[in-house]
Symmetry: none
Subunit: 225 residues, 2 copies
């Protein structure tokens, strides 16, 4: 429930303002982009905190479909497309690409808010309070980790790194990806920093530290086995 960020992508500043005002009133944080390119840049930078994207279809430089496609290559973030009164053609096109919802302009702000909330509820719904990875239990809300029932203290970085790994269970993550997602995208530190944290986490996880596998030449992977 806390701090939901919405990325609004529309070339008309009037439209952005309208949406922004309503959503801010509802307590959401807002990011804005005025065209497709900006949107992609925005998304890369703030990927971790963006909960949902409102995406206009008609834009200069890079249209909504292109943006959608690009984002879908790496992310499943909910996306609502803002369209002129829809042609069926477009809708079909979009659903295949992974559009979550359509809203036709002009729309009432209430509808907008309702749909945003419905989608957020839906997406949030399927992540339970507690996630159990073979005995490593993470309470996302409480930001706590227990291993075989025993509480384990994790520092901020350790928690975030572990979280990132388990969120991508069974997926080999490159060092780059890890840096970009757990650290700031512009972090230029020592490449041994990750190792160092991995070491600490493994140690804290005890036996289950081996769930974090090193993928030589690539990075790390979390896998329960």
């Amino acid at each position: 429930m806390n701090d939901v960020t919405v990325l609004i992508v529309d070339d008309e500043s009037r439209m952005r303002k309208l949406i922004r005002d309503f959503l801010m009133q509802k307590g959401y944080s807002i990011l804005e982009a005025a065209d497709g390119e900006e949107a992609l840049k925005m998304f890369e930078e703030h990927q971790n905190k963006i909960s949902i994207i409102l995406l206009d279809v008609m834009m200069p430089k890079l249209d909504g479909w292109s943006v959608l496609r690009q984002i879908r290559q790496t992310s499943k973030v909910p996306i609502i497309m803002l369209t002129a009164r829809g042609e069926e053609q477009d809708e079909l096109f979009g659903f295949e690409l992974g559009v979550d919802e359509y809203i036709s302009k002009p729309f009432s702000p209430k509808i907008l808010v309702a749909r945003v909330e419905a989608i957020l509820k839906r997406t949030k719904g399927d992540e339970k309070e507690l996630k159990d990875y073979g005995g490593i239990v993470i309470d996302v809300e409480g930001r706590t980790v227990t291993v075989d029932g025993k509480n384990v203290e994790m520092s901020l970085r350790e928690y975030e790194l572990l979280k990132y790994l388990v969120d991508n269970e069974n997926i080999a993550l490159s060092r780059d990806k890890i840096l970009n997602n757990v650290w700031n995208y512009d972090y230029y530190g020592d490449s041994r920093t990750i190792d160092s944290h991995i070491k600490k986490i493994r140690h804290k996880l005890g036996k289950k530290g081996k769930y974090i596998q090193t993928m030589r030449g690539v990075g790390y992977k979390f896998e329960v086995k």
Copy 2:
């Protein structure tokens, strides 16, 4: 994973038939109910196999909203409401109650199918992408290889070389091509290097190592046979 059952609730048999025909054509199983009461009965009986519900709003006996409310007390099954061209009032009302989607009558069957599939995709957990080459299974995300179900450890080069070979299944690859694609362009090493890695891979693949064929004077080819 397959065998998705859709419950269609509408009092007009003509409408049910229309929807049924389209969805069956797409391979879905269908259950039908002609009014709200029947719908609830149906749902109770078949709750475990129903993946999604298409629910008409206007019905005799018990209308769609009532059905929705009742079902939501015990279940989160995705529900698409079928409405007459919508008044905003209704939509808002429904989102609060947990409607996943609206479709306004009249609608095209294509839109219907697209939305059903979109929702199912969303609810269903993502299955990972596995490629199977005659018992050699490659999980690209996890960067793992299994042979006849048994995990096989591959080093970076081995994995990349194997991947390159299977990506070009049935195509004879020259040593040059292999070097340029798996190694860096400017690699000027021993020409025996490839052989050496091929050997290791074949060994790790066991019997199935013979899928990697030697093309004398040319290079290698991966072929399942």
